[in-house]
Amino acid sequence: MFRKRKLAEEEYVEETTTETTETEESTPDSMEQFINLLVDMGLSAEQAEAVHTMAMELVDVSGGETITEEVKEETKVEASRQERGSRRSPRREFSRRGTTGRPSRQMRNEEPAHGRRAMSEQRSERTSPTQRLEVQLRRQRREMAEMRKQLIELGAQPATRGLNNAPQRREVSGSVPTPSAEGSIQDRVNAMLKNVR
């Protein structure tokens, strides 16, 4: 059992080292080669050096981003491992895994029991009115898009102009409303305010 645990630790170390070497490989190290190549292409040595410096800066910037992502991924993997580890006792964990370190098929049947709980939690979240409405809205949008495609195929082009969700506001931003000259002042005022929301 002790041997197995050690094996797992070795595996873990191995994974980390591979990732590190990958990061190192991604940075270019042959400065001279690069400069020579540029000189061969017709640039002067100074120009070639300047280009190399710029290229290195660019590589540094992009390389930094890649590394951050990798680190994030690594952390995520580690976090999930820790989570898994905390849920199961080490003994159970090792009994699940064979010599290869993968869970056996029999043991994999345990997972749905745990997953089922998560699923039911997710479902209860989803059944909240807002989420249900969101799902409906997404479905309706998809349907509308499909219908629009069909209509375009038939020659009609609906919604070439965006729909106005606040027609009153749009009217307001235009010209000043013209009141009717009929009736008393109060009648005119009432007529103008009748449809104001």
């Binding site: 009717s180 000259a181 109060q186 005022v189 305010l193 009748k194 104001v196």
Partner: protein, 355 residues
């Protein structure tokens, strides 16, 4: 098991009180205030009937330019007449319309307005205190009152509030008021206080002044007589009984005095008729409730200009539900807008005055 509790409100909705007071969004600025400010600024008779020229969207001042060309631009041509006239035959005059900032700050009691509100709704309709309909009703009451004030202000001015009326700066039609008004430089004509018996003569005096001093304006299509409701009523009476002769009684024969008898009136229908648009020798008579009673203005629509800052960022209207905050039963209505008048070419307007 869960089904048992389905009919119960969720934890969140249990926390929400059903009688929570709901406030309306109450402040409208710039173009969003137009629906509330426009009824106040645009529904006055003089404005809604298009008797004067209206310019909206002025932020503070507007410069109105008018070009006048002397009649002698045509010269004798032919040999040795190759020179140009000087530039004095074309003159450019400017008049500046300056807005006066005005405001309405009214507090109204809901209970006082309730009866009118319910009356307007009808028996089967219900609307909440905090509904947009009730807000529109309250704003409408204030806007209508404001519109009546605008009608008076543009003709009479108002002491300390609006010194920019067409005929006065302080609400009084006298020398001082006229001298500080928009028509301070207008051509004037003395008239008598008007009655049904002499109204035709007084309007005739103003017409005659135009014929003798400003005959060019008589051919303009937008020329109008501007009179008050009272003067218009006197004019209707006069034309309904016009066409009479001169009657001499015994005393009259002896003394030579004569009295005018009533005739068959316009269309020979005496008073049994409805007068549509009033005219005097082909010139429209515009009935403006804001005009002074013993005053007559003869001017073109284009020459009398009313400006406002409608459709700018400077207008604002608020409906404040104070009852939500201070335990009173009040709502407050505020309006901020600018108003101004100017005469394009004041001398082309003729003002009949009794002083």
């Amino acid at each position: 098991m869960n089904n048992r509790y389905n009919s119960l409100p969720s934890r969140r909705s249990r926390r929400e009180l059903s009688n929570n007071p709901q406030g309306l969004p109450g402040t409208y600025a710039g173009v969003l205030s137009t629906p509330f400010i426009a009824p106040a600024l645009k529904t006055a008779d003089t404005l809604v009937k298009g008797y004067v020229r209206q310019i909206d969207g002025i932020s503070f001042k507007a410069v109105l330019s008018a070009t006048s060309i002397a009649d002698d631009v045509i010269q004798v041509g032919g040999a040795s007449n190759c020179a140009f006239d000087d530039g004095n035959s074309v003159t450019l005059s400017e008049s500046i319309l300056t807005l006066t900032d005005l405001k309405v700050n009214e507090e109204l009691c809901r209970a006082t307005m309730l009866n009118s509100w319910q009356e307007q709704l009808g028996p089967r309709n219900t609307a909440d205190w905090s509904s947009p309909e009730y807000r529109n009703f309250v704003m409408g009451q204030v806007a209508a009152k404001t519109a009546a004030g605008v009608e008076n202000a543009i003709w009479k001015g108002s002491n300390g509030v609006f010194a920019n009326g067409f005929l006065s700066s302080d609400g009084v039609f006298d020398d001082d008021g006229l001298a500080a008004s928009s028509l301070a430089n207008a051509t004037t004509q003395a008239i008598a206080a008007m009655t049904a018996a002499n109204v035709l003569q007084q309007i005739g005096l103003v017409y005659n002044k135009a014929a003798t001093d400003k005959s060019a304006i008589l051919s303009k299509p937008d020329l109008k007589f501007f009179v008050s409701n009272k003067t218009a009523a006197l004019y209707r009476q006069a034309i309904a009984t016009a066409g009479g002769g001169i009657a001499f009684d015994t005393a009259g024969l002896a003394s030579g005095a004569a009295t005018t008898t009533t005739g068959q009136g316009y269309n020979n229908m005496v008073t049994n008729q409805a007068f549509g648009a009033l005219n005097f020798l082909g010139i429209e008579i515009a009935e403006c409730p804001g005009m002074f009673d013993d005053a007559i203005v003869l001017a073109q629509t284009e020459n009398l200009i009313v400006g406002s800052n409608l459709s700018t960022d400077y207008t604002e209207a608020s409906y404040i539900q104070t009852y939500l905050y201070d335990g009173s039963d009040n709502v407050r209505v505020t309006m901020r807008f600018g108003l101004g008048t100017v005469a394009g070419i004041a001398a082309d307007a003729i003002v009949g005055k009794t002083f």
